[in-house]
């Protein structure tokens, strides 16, 4: 068998990036497994946390999918002004910091929020957002748009000719076309959201808590931060890892549609539409559910800006630095891995999806606390962990582009005798500006809003903006917290927008 004689890109940076990811994921897991006090077993409280984690994830994923189906159907078959803007905005929650969304949800559903004011005015009993249903509400808020976009892709993947054929046969579109599509798409969507809810920490931290609403990750945080019980924290981290691997293994077996959602602008011509009111009502309700909390963040945030203590601004500066460093690291690793290619890259590209920030954080804590005060390492470790957790998304964008360049120009580059570094500098970098900018923007925004591993490490002097905001909420300084939420919201979206725009500038490909 003749061999390809061309190996044009440098390989060692990819190996270095892979090593870093493996140390942060598998290495920290080993530390956790070694330190866990297995003989102690799981207490009733631990079992309660496991049950709560799984139940809330099941309910959140189920509700998200159930609500998404009629909305996706409405969006697939109705044409109206602002439709594409609405679909684009539904991609926004992916970049939205969890604590910001929680502030918005509190403003709508919390004590003294819009809903409770309305109920009180009607003389009805008020509701509380804390506990199980609060966690589920926040998870549905985050994942409903994702579910809608994914299921909408399924709908739009049905060829227009089939609808025409069904119409000419006067056949029921629902049973003939839509039900088979849903049966193949919905299980994958459900599992992805289940996995996301399984590892979501910040929602449980802010809206859960107490013996009846504690997730495994929250229990890890409490064991480490409040009890300094390393054995229990490690044991719980192993449990959490087991849960994630189980769910990821199931997701792995399902082929997934692209979540970045290109080509959602299409509207298929239909002949079976009778009741437009129901569709538009669904769309309006979901839009209200998704955008009222965001509007409230801005509405309450503006007066809160005046109340921000100086240390919140310092935290904001820290967040910007962490976000920028983590974005740079993330795209460098993604580029190095993409240039290297091969099985190692494929594996390293998915491992972080099954990793949880808290498990990695616990492992990192165990590795360093004997040698140095963990608080001193809070920011570097947050940068490393955030870059690693965002890596799969950046690698997906950049990897495809690099593969395409290899396919189209690899031979030309080889025959011209471009050196490895000249190949990267002259050909690859100019041609991947767009995915590079997109990947950097994603990593920057995710890191800006992250409230995960930082909570394990940071003291007052290292807090980032999400952590400062969480502490303001904990101190019931809600006006100031709302101001901080607005700052965080603007910073997150600005970080994404700036990177993404830089990637788009004068790119003539």
């Amino acid at each position: 068998m003749a061999q390809r004689a061309v190996a044009i890109a440098p390989r060692w940076p990819g190996a270095a990036a892979a090593a870093l990811v493996l140390v942060l994921t598998i290495g920290t897991l080993a530390a956790v497994g070694w330190r866990a006090e297995w003989q102690r077993g799981l207490s009733p409280a631990d079992w309660a946390a496991i049950r709560f984690t799984i139940t809330q994830a099941l309910v959140s994923a189920g509700l998200s999918v159930l609500l998404a189906i009629p909305v996706a159907r409405a969006l697939a078959r109705r044409r109206f002004r602002g439709r594409s803007a609405l679909i684009t905005l539904m991609g926004a929650p992916f970049l939205l910091p969890v604590v910001v969304a929680v502030i918005g949800l509190l403003a709508v559903f919390g004590r003294g929020g819009m809903v409770n004011s309305g109920l009180a005015w009607l003389g009805l009993p008020t509701i509380t957002i804390f506990g199980f249903h609060g966690v589920v509400l926040a998870h549905v808020f985050f994942n409903l748009p994702l579910a809608i976009r994914l299921i909408l892709q399924g709908w739009l993947a049905i060829p227009a000719e089939r609808f025409r054929l069904a119409a000419s046969l006067n056949a029921p579109v629902g049973r003939l076309l839509e039900w088979p599509m849903l049966r193949s798409v919905v299980p994958g969507v459900f599992l992805v959201i289940f996995l996301i809810c399984l590892t979501s920490f910040a929602v449980a931290l802010t809206l859960g808590g107490g013996p009846r609403a504690t997730t495994v990750e929250l229990a890890i945080y409490q064991a480490l931060r409040f009890d300094f019980d390393l054995g229990r924290a490690s044991l719980l981290a192993c449990v959490q890892f087991g849960l994630c691997v189980l769910a990821a293994a199931i997701v792995w077996r399902l082929s997934l549609v692209d979540t970045m959602g290109v080509g959602l602008d299409r509207v298929v011509q239909r002949w079976d539409l009778r009741w437009p009111v129901a569709d538009y009502l669904m769309i309006a309700l979901v839009a209200a559910f998704l955008f009222t909390p965001l509007a409230m963040v801005v509405w309450r945030g503006v007066p809160g800006l005046m109340l921000l203590p100086a240390d919140v601004w310092a935290a904001a500066v820290r967040s910007v630095i962490v976000s920028a460093a983590s974005a740079v690291l993330c795209v460098c690793m993604a580029l190095a891995l993409a240039l290297r290619g091969g099985t190692l890259t494929a594996i390293v590209g998915v491992i972080p999806l099954a990793a949880s920030g808290l498990v990695v954080g616990t492992g990192a804590f165990l590795l360093v606390y004997q040698f140095i005060n963990p608080a001193h390492l809070a920011l570097p470790i947050t940068i490393l962990v955030n870059a690693t957790l965002a890596l799969p998304f950046a690698l997906r964008a950049i990897g495809q582009a690099v593969d395409g360049i290899d396919r189209n120009f690899g031979r030309l580059g080889a025959s011209l005798g471009l050196s490895r570094w000249a190949w990267v500098r002259i050909v690859v970098l100019p041609r991947i500006r767009r995915p590079l900018g997109f990947g950097a923007g994603l990593a920057a925004a995710l890191s800006m809003g992250d409230l995960g591993v930082i909570t394990l490490f940071a003291g007052e002097a290292q807090q980032t903006l999400p952590l400062a905001m969480y502490r303001l909420m904990g101190a019931y300084r809600m006006e100031a917290a709302a101001g901080a939420a607005l700052v965080l919201l603007v910073l997150s979206f600005a970080a994404f927008w700036i990177c993404d725009q830089r990637g788009r500038g004068d790119a003539d490909l």
Binding site: M1, V6, L412, S415, A422, V427, L509
Partner: protein
């Protein structure tokens, strides 16, 4: 002389053997059905494939240890011969400096080549702003500027209209042929071979026949060639 010495290339269940010599300074056409191994042979000569057996020799020197970029060979492919994000003069300059850091003399040489292939004044355009024929001219210009005696043309003008294609073939003959390059050109069209090739080679059934003068090649066709031409 460019010699394929008992060359064997295997890919999946496809096997190509070649044991022939191409004369230096000649233009040779490789003719044969698609899938017969014409492009595979060029890929082996350029160094993109390492042969399973045999050697490739240029002027007595074994090319096996040389990677594609260090062989005395330049190539023009069917497409993607220019980097779309680089200007025409940058694309041509790559022939002299793969780092793109050109001296003043080298820049002047690029300017001369641009003029020679009829692209004067288009130096700072990007490929997308050029017509198909102009893009082919730019690729030819780069090969002209590269100091490499062997030129491999893998149907680079297949997408051009007949008039434009003849214009390009003539440019190959008057510029590259006149510069003494050894040119191997893959083509489907006998007219291409008759127009510029000194010799022709038939590639079929996994074998490469020895070169024959183009006139003789078509006047006394082999049975395989008759079957191919139909």
């Amino acid at each position: 002389m460019l010699i394929c010495d008992n060359l064997v290339i295997e890919q999946d269940d496809f096997r190509l053997t070649a044991d022939i010599a191409f004369g230096a300074g000649m233009i040779m056409a490789l003719i044969g059905p698609s899938g017969a191994g014409k492009s595979t042979l060029l890929a082996a000569l350029a160094g993109f494939l390492s042969p399973d057996a045999g050697r490739v020799l240029w002027q007595g020197r074994d090319l096996a240890p040389l990677p594609p970029g260090q062989r005395p060979v330049s190539a023009i492919f069917q497409d993607n011969n220019l980097f779309p994000h680089l200007t025409i003069s940058q694309n041509i300059g790559l022939a002299l400096r793969p780092s793109l850091r050109l001296s003043r003399h080298e820049r002047a040489a690029v300017g001369q080549v641009l003029e020679s292939v009829g692209l004067a004044g288009l130096a700072d355009r990007k490929p997308a702003a050029l017509s198909g024929g102009q893009q082919s001219r730019a690729a030819l210009g780069r090969v002209l500027l590269a100091d490499r005696p062997v030129v491999l043309l893998d149907e680079p003008f297949a997408a051009l209209g007949p008039g434009l294609k003849d214009e390009m073939l003539d440019l190959v003959k008057t510029k590259l042929g006149a510069a003494g390059r050894t040119i191997l050109m893959v083509t489907h069209d006998p007219a291409d071979a008759k127009r510029i090739a000194d010799q022709a080679v038939f590639v079929g059934d996994g074998r490469v026949t020895p070169p024959v003068a183009t006139q003789t090649f078509f006047d006394n066709p082999s049975p395989a060639l008759i079957a191919y031409l139909g």
